[in-house]
């Protein structure tokens, strides 16, 4: 039994490595004793997004990477798999969490319905504060619902976590462009949490970007997960980060016959995690290293893409779909409307411990603060901000 292999380290390195500091040995011990509800509550106490994190966390560089078993010439404890078991049990058995009565007069708005806001709002509800989550999309969950590869996290699982937060008394206002209503929100609420993530994928700035068959990676993944989308027969993905790989593997699932990844730098520089790369290779995806894209050809829609190698040779890849995945832009315009919130290099500047920005009424967390990391980082940011907001409202506002 995997759970009984855990050494139950004191002040465990896995717990320290987890951005949300889940008490890993404690939840594993509870699995070993058959106390699955207790195990799940231990996880959710530290990380409300325990379900999605158990599926999407890069555990090799987090908890499992820190496991002392590595130094013992043994396989690390399969923490991710154990957490998944506890979370699956929890969500299959009337999931609910204790909340405090809504006895606080001060109200908090959370902008964006992704992991950071969910964690923040849940933390506020645990402390008796009413919280309202705004999102411009029709479905809540942010990138957990729209942006993570289907094989890792399906939208229904993301929505289970949203429902848990809703059951704690958090209100959702969906399909609302908070961007346009920020003044009204400022009036209505005593504190505002920005969990807005990043903007759309960067533009390439090359000819042919407007041709049909050219589609932003996040849009492509979102459509794949939440509606139906036609895929090309031959697909070229530009970029070699985790999102690029998610898009390429999604194209494969949708039936594309030939998939290329074009990356301007080499294999060693590739930002995708090692296991993501392995998955892509298993899917038979062809990688073109040190390759710049020059232009997209096509009369009515995408027909081929022109690429250049460092030695100047030019070649064309025939394709009917091009998916750029070269990183997300910053939501600078939106942030400019939040008066007094300091933004540096497109990222909101906060106090790391409390999430508070230069404008003390504003707090922030997640990708818009950290530049685009993992779900667990957003959950940790949201949690710290939720606690920070509650403490600030209590101390400063009575």
């Amino acid at each position: 039994m995997e759970a009984s292999r855990c050494l139950f380290c004191f002040d465990a390195p896995c717990t320290a490595a987890c951005p949300t500091h889940i008490d890993v040995p404690r939840f594993i011990k509870k699995i070993a004793t058959g106390n699955l509800r207790g195990s799940a509550l231990t996880i959710l106490d530290s990380n409300l997004l325990g379900l999605s994190c158990s599926r999407v966390c890069p555990v090799d560089v987090l908890c499992e990477g820190a496991c002392v078993m590595h130094r013992y010439n043994k396989q690390p404890i399969e923490i991710g798999r154990l957490q998944r078991a506890a979370m699956d049990w929890f969500y299959a058995h009337n999931p609910s969490l204790p909340v405090a009565p809504e006895n606080r007069a001060k109200r908090v708005a959370c902008i964006g319905a992704g992991p950071a806001s969910l964690a923040c709002a849940a933390e506020l509800r645990r402390r008796g504060y009413p919280a309202v989550i705004f999102d411009r999309n029709p479905l809540p969950g942010g990138l957990n619902t729209y942006g993570i590869a289907e094989y890792k996290l399906r939208p229904p699982d993301s929505l289970k976590e949203v429902e848990l937060v809703r059951s704690m008394g958090v209100e959702f206002r969906l399909g609302v462009e908070a961007f346009a209503k920020i003044e009204a929100i400022e009036c209505e609420f005593d504190a505002i949490f920005l969990g807005i993530g990043l903007g759309p994928t960067h533009r390439l700035g090359i000819p042919g970007e407007d041709l049909p068959g050219f589609i932003d990676a996040l849009r492509f993944i979102a459509d794949y997960k939440t509606s139906s989308i036609p895929v090309g027969r031959r697909v070229v993905v530009i970029g070699a980060g985790n999102t690029a790989i998610d898009a390429a593997t999604a194209a494969k699932r949708l039936g594309a016959q030939e998939i290329h990844i074009v990356y301007r730098r080499g294999e060693a520089e590739m930002p995708a995690f090692e296991y993501e790369y392995e998955i892509a290779k298993l899917d038979g995806i062809v990688f073109h290293w040190w390759t710049q894209v020059k232009r997209i050809h096509g009369s009515e829609s995408v027909e081929s893409i022109e690429c250049a190698r460092p030695d100047g040779t030019i070649f064309n890849l025939a394709c009917d779909m091009v998916i750029p995945a070269i990183g997300q832009s910053r939501l600078v315009d939106f942030l400019a409307r939040c008066r007094g919130v300091e933004v540096r290099e497109g990222r909101v500047v906060i106090n790391r411990e409390t999430g508070q920005t230069e404008n003390r009424k504003y707090f922030a967390g997640g990708d818009c603060v950290n530049g685009g990391r993992e779900v667990v980082d957003a959950a940790a940011d949201g949690k710290r901000a939720g606690i920070g907001i509650a403490q600030w409202l209590e101390a400063d506002h009575g």
Partner: protein, 450 residues
Amino acid sequence: MADLSTLFAGRIRCPNPFWLASGPPANCGDQVMRAFDAGWGGAVWKTLGEPIVNVSSRYSSVDLNGQRMMGLNNIELITDRPLDVNLREIGEVKKRYPHHAVIASLMVESRREAWHEIVRRSEDAGADGLELNFGCPHGMSERGMGSAVGQVPEYCAMITEWVKEVARTPVLVKLTPNITDIRRVARAARKGGADGLSAINTINSITGIDLDTFIPRPNVDGLSAHGGYCGPAVKPIALHMVQQIAVDPEVGLPVSGIGGISGWREAAEFLLLGCQSVQLCTAPMHWGFRIVEDMIDGLKNWMDEKGFRTVEDFRGLSLPRIQDWKDLNLNYKIVARIDPDTCIGCDLCYIACWDGAHQCIHIDGHASPESFAEASRRRIATTPIPKLDGVAENGSHKTPPERIPCVDEDECVGCNLCWLVCPVEDCISMERVETGLPAQSWEQRMESKC
């Protein structure tokens, strides 16, 4: 190459000291012959007596962290096969395996004639020896047999005497551990004329309760009854009782050691405490007769390595090493030393010392485990992403120095707890430190004060 051939009580010969204990593995002739083919040196037949009726189910166990049957409990009674059949099969086995030991375990009602008859018939069938089952703690004891006899020294002596009146082969008395002082019954057996002792029988037990039905195990149609406990978990208790009877001057009988033996290592331990043979039941029930191959092979290799030619060369060697507490040296001091190169930073020794011992293992810069853990909780951790962090991820799994505890040797009492909890072999060592004082026991210290 070491020689394992065994002579028990001066009269029972067998190729090695490994016997099947009286129980399910020695239930019938076919099993015993297959066991002898696998390499077992002897077998104590499942207890003969008036055939009984058994219940179903009969066994239950205690598992530990995925290891099955650390302890086994049974409510099975003596043989449920007709006496004639068992005796005929004993004869067949002895005919085909003349050099192996076949001992008949016996239990009948407490009447002299009944005992005389079963002794005669067993010996006539060809048994090399007899084992009087005064130990079985369940079922039969309610009918005045088994441990009901073994718990009363006078009964034990009386029935042993009856048996000795007619027995021609060596008589072993199997002792129950369900008694305050096992030596009293062992002495009674000696008084009754026994030629040897078998110890220990199973320990009264209730292994556990089903938390859904509230019915203890084993479940017999909604009810359970206490059973007899055996298996690896009971070895320390068995070793202690064997040692007690082995050194008692009023006992002085050969002992066949039983209780928690599952391989050659445990067998060697019983032999080191003076046993002339050992008996196994749970282990062959768990793994089959084939385990005896490694018992023979492993014990021989160990004997070769230690320079022992026969079992007699090391039998009882550890007995003088067990004394009363009052004889131990109070001026002997050891301390724990942690090897920082092999420490994996689990800090189990640290919390064990703080919560369960003497607060002499420390983490640099922290006054208590609570402040150490609190510092970690306050630290902000993020997923390392090289593109954002501008540094390559650190792939090394070296233990961070701040997680390696250190021992305050002046405070360390040498209790061994940290060494026991450490999951890494040879990471913590208990090392002797010179106190500059001569050896002195508590008894000597008391005497010197007078």
